[in-house]
């Protein structure tokens, strides 16, 4: 037990990967059910081991907890250094929870190479938890890049007709940004002689260098979030990905970018972050407003939700770059909430797609008549997506808008338009798909959701409403960390110019 207690994070990372390897070894299409059950047990156990991260988290500590430190590659002073703070714990729990969801969502849907599908998601889950907990640049980079491989395969093997284009675009886009981040790490390594994140936090960097570092990180993270104008891979990837792939992309992969801004780009180059804050806020607002309009005209449901994700992630970056505690916490809450809501929305589209094999809004109409129970859930999630008070979608957006009012009225005004546009595109789609007369014979033959689908949607509905009414479990985690973060951000890291020659670095 002590081994487990001292290596909570390692278990959270390696257990799902081990489960993935076991599924690969013992699973096959012939023994489909065994494969599914092994994957389900693996994902549930992996979820359970992440729970102590929440229950044992010390709320009043703003620095890293559950740290693990071991030498990995001494030649370059690279360490296996893990640790979490209030930003990463909710994201880790979200990741392990979503993996269970993805396994259940694939149950009867995926019939080709089941073992590889399940294994890909389990391994990806471990890698993403690794990203959220790595405190060493190279360790982080390895997890970050390795995650691309299973995602590449998931979209490419089980995706839609245009899957090859989408997955190659996804891979190359992300790789381009990441490699620039690697260059930034190499620079920082030659400055400090290590890859330890904490060394980077304390390193004074000249403004010029900070700007380049920020740009390099920006290239990596903005693509992942994705921010306008480097978002174009996301709609393609989402549309072509299988349901599980879309869920993981929207619920977690996008958060990797947001989280990494908090962990790397901003604290390492705080002065550059302040310098670029207006640019970042502008880009965020473009994402919030312009992408909402783009979402409005989409004919494909998945594409609409993909654009809606970009728009919602605009709130996250907006919250980060106002440098206020409320905005920051709102942004993190928004990330978690979007994780639930986007999963639920993609799940709903998946439910319809499995029955009709179409994602076109025009092919539907009056679904509520044949699938009343499903329609109830779908409408709830649509409301949450448009930010209805009482759902988790409202909490984050409201906190960010409140912070924006203090920051600048016009920023707040533009951000608040999302409550209108978000409602417009989501509810308009809901209306066209669910309400009205039964549109055609296919819709008339639809069968309502089964127990498996019901249970997934019900759990998500409880979470969406639960955190909407009582967000305290998340916000409590964030307080100490965000206060610590803001203190760090307010301290300039520009080197103090003096006549004494610099020592060391």
């Amino acid at each position: 037990m002590t081994v487990f207690n001292q290596h909570l994070l390692s278990f959270a990372i390696w257990l799902p990967m081990l489960a993935g390897v076991i599924v690969l070894m013992f699973g096959s299409d012939q023994a489909a059910n065994r494969t599914r059950w092994v994957a389900l047990v693996g994902s549930i156990v992996s979820f359970l081991v992440t729970i102590p991260l929440y229950t044992r988290f010390q709320l009043d500590v703003g620095t890293f907890q559950f740290q693990e430190l071991a030498t990995w590659i001494p030649a370059f002073n690279i360490h296996y250094h893990l640790g979490v703070d209030g930003f990463s714990v909710p994201l880790i729990l979200l990741t392990s929870f979503t993996t269970v969801l993805v396994v259940v969502a694939a149950w009867e849907v995926i019939t080709k190479s089941i073992a590889q599908y399940m294994a890909a998601f389990l391994i990806m889950s471990g890698l993403m938890i690794g990203v959220f907990s790595a405190l060493d640049g190279i360790l982080y980079y390895v997890f970050w890049e390795a995650m691309l491989i299973p995602m590449f395969l998931v979209i490419g093997i089980w995706g839609g007709p245009n899957r090859v284009y989408a997955t190659v675009k996804f891979f190359l886009y992300t790789l381009l940004g990441s490699l620039l981040m690697l260059v930034a790490f190499i620079y920082l390594y030659h400055q400090t002689g290590s890859f330890a994140l904490t060394d980077y936090y304390d390193l004074p960097i000249a403004m010029n260098a900070q700007i380049w570092i920020f740009i390099a990180f920006f290239m990596a993270f903005a693509v992942k979030i994705p921010m306008w104008p480097v978002h174009t891979w996301l709609p393609d990837a989402h549309v072509e990905a299988p349901t599980g792939g879309s869920i993981v992309l929207a619920a977690i992969a996008l958060k990797l970018g947001g989280y990494s801004f908090l962990r790397f780009a901003m604290p390492i180059a705080p002065d550059a972050a302040h310098y670029f804050s207006n640019v970042m806020i502008t880009l965020s607002l473009i994402a919030v407003v312009y992408i909402a309009f783009v979402a409005l005209v989409q004919k494909d449901m998945k594409k609409l939700i993909a654009y809606s994700s970009i728009s919602h992630m605009g709130f996250v970056t907006l919250g980060f770059f106002m440098f206020s505690q409320l905005g920051l916490e709102g942004a993190v809450v928004q990330m978690i909430s979007h994780g639930f809501i986007s999963s639920a929305m993609f799940l709903c589209v998946g439910v319809l797609y499995d029955r009709m094999h179409s994602r076109q809004i025009a092919d539907y109409g009056g679904v509520v008549n044949t699938m009343p129970m499903f329609a109830a859930f779908a409408v709830l999630f649509a409301m949450a997506n448009s930010g209805l008070p009482g759902t988790s979608g409202f909490v984050g957006e409201f906190m960010v808008i409140l912070a924006a009012v203090k920051f600048n009225f016009w920023v707040a005004f533009l951000a608040a338009t999302t409550l209108i546009f978000g409602a417009a595109y989501t509810l308009w789609m809901t209306k066209r798909v669910f309400y009205g007369e039964v549109a055609n014979a296919h819709v008339a033959e639809l069968k309502d959701i089964n127990a498996r689908e019901f249970s997934m949607l019900a759990v998500l509905a409880i979470l969406v409403i639960g955190f909407g009414v009582y967000p305290e479990p998340i916000t409590a985690l964030l307080q100490a960390t965000s206060a610590e973060f803001l203190t760090h951000m307010q301290t300039s890291k520009l080197p103090i110019i003096s006549n004494v020659p610099a020592v060391g670095i």
Binding site: E145, I149, L175
Partner: protein
């Protein structure tokens, strides 16, 4: 006793000749004995090299021959690579009626050439080793003598190779003219006393660098690479693409990093231009290929570009990084060509990209192995290829090559595209060829270990990094 320190070389020499003789007296169906003898030779050479190892640098045969850690490590890696190659190629040669004693004798002679290059401390020794290696490779390329493509490739290789050897020799003679010595150490000392802008010396350097670049296949001396790779029997392509790079690396270290080190500022710029051109042209041309061997040839060119990034740093960090890179590269090349050999069978070469279609459905394990290899070549963690690129790039950055590093990184994205295409063919497409994979168990086993090593060294790169760092530091300081 000088002669004893060359024991591995002598063993290989004697065994190669023994194989030629034994082959005369052996029935064709018993030829596996020859194969066994060749593998035994490699093992014996490894034991001798390992036993004679001392951390100190020692010179033999009137300072013509050096025995240092770098030489020992590179030789051990060469034996290992050759041994793996022999395992992979056995069935291929059998099925194509090329399973003859000459093949093994020739491979051993070429390896002897590599060993002499690796231990060359004198320009003549280096040249002798290089010629022994090259002559064996020329004839091996034409080993399938009734195949017109192979003959054409051999001819091209021979003509251009002879030209390159000529250039190298010409450069060496100029350096000899200016310094009055052929010994690497003496050359370094002599150059330090000379005016570094001496035109003859610089001309000599240019010719030497051109000769080396040819042997590596760096742009603009890369023309032979795609044709020779495609035209040769796959087993020979595998040989040319893998272990001789260790030897080429060794003579580059001896000539540039030891002998001509005082001229580093000059050769750094030359290497920089070649490195950037190699990565660009290698990666861009690889995209357009439909032949797997030809694609790997262009991929080699781009890898050499990255290797030059390490060398051009001109410091111990850079040399150690490029040694790590070359080790990773050889491991990846063996795996890549091994996979082509695994998929080929009687009358079928499996050297086209489409032959890989749907491999995941035919054999998930083989597809997974090839996927690891491709991601490693692309430099995606957690494979060894990532650390290879990472180490050379950080070395180049440290040496002040900021913009070239950024450019190289961007070009690596282009490179990733054609490796991804292989993964796409294997995993996303339906198979067109439904024949079962037939390969001997030992080959499947070694190939699996080879590919898994790419992943394992990727997870724990420390051991290989230490070996490379130690060999460079103890040998160059």
């Amino acid at each position: 006793m000088d002669i004893l320190s060359a024991l591995p070389e002598l063993t290989v020499l004697c065994m190669a000749m023994l194989i030629l003789i034994v082959d005369l007296f052996i029935k064709p169906q018993n030829r596996f004995v020859i194969y066994g003898l060749a593998q035994f030779t490699l093992f014996a050479a490894a034991v001798f090299t390992f036993q004679s190892h001392t951390p100190a640098v020692s010179y033999m045969f009137s300072n013509m021959f050096v025995d240092d850690t770098l030489a020992d490590v590179l030789k051990l890696m060469t034996y290992l690579g050759t041994s793996i190659m022999l395992v992979y190629t056995r069935q291929y040669m059998q099925l194509r009626n090329m399973f003859r004693g000459e093949y093994y004798a020739m491979v051993l002679f070429s390896m002897l050439g590599m060993m002499i290059m690796i231990s060359g401390q004198n320009m003549l020794t280096i040249y002798m080793g290089l010629e022994l290696l090259s002559l064996c490779l020329y004839s091996l390329v034409a080993f399938d003598r009734d195949n017109p493509r192979a003959s054409e490739a051999a001819m091209k290789y021979f003509v251009l190779g002879a030209l390159a050897s000529g250039m190298l020799l010409y450069g060496m003679s100029m350096i000899y003219g200016m310094t009055g010595s052929l010994n690497i150490t003496e050359i370094a000392n002599a150059i330090s006393d000379l005016n570094p802008h001496n035109p003859v010396l610089i001309m000599g350097l240019v010719f030497v660098v051109a000769g080396l670049a040819f042997k590596f296949g760096a742009v603009p001396f890369q023309m032979w690479v795609p044709d020779v790779y495609q035209g040769s029997p796959t087993s020979i392509t595998m040989l040319i693409g893998s272990v001789p790079k260790f030897a080429a690396f060794a003579i580059t270290i001896r000539l540039l990093a030891q002998g001509l080190y005082p001229l580093a500022a000059d050769w750094q710029d030359m290497l920089l231009i070649m490195a950037l051109l190699s990565i660009t042209i290698g990666n861009l041309s690889a995209i357009a290929q439909s032949n797997l061997k030809r694609m790997l040839a262009y991929s080699t060119i781009s890898h050499i570009g990255f290797l030059l990034f390490g060398l051009m740093s001109a410091n111990l960090n850079g040399f150690a990084s490029s040694m790590f890179y070359i080790s990773a590269y050889v491991l990846m090349t063996l795996a890549g060509f091994g996979m082509i050999l695994l998929l080929s069978r009687q009358g079928f070469e499996a050297d086209k990209l489409e032959d890989l279609k749907g491999l995941n459905q035919r054999s998930p394990w083989a597809a997974f192995m090839m996927m690891i290899t491709m991601f490693s070549m692309a430099g995606i963690p957690p494979t060894v290829g990532f650390y290879a690129k990472f180490t050379v790039l950080q070395a180049a950055w440290q040496a002040g090559f900021t913009w070239p590093v950024v450019v190289a990184v961007l070009l690596a994205v282009i490179g990733a595209f054609y490796y991804l295409r292989i993964v796409k063919l294997m995993y996303f497409d339906e198979p067109t060829d439904l024949n079962a994979i037939q390969a001997p168990v030992d080959m499947q086993l070694v190939l699996s270990v080879n590919c898994l090593a790419l992943l394992l060294i990727g997870l724990l790169p420390q051991v290989l990094m230490n070996i490379c760092g130690l060999s460079i530091v103890t040998s160059l300081q």
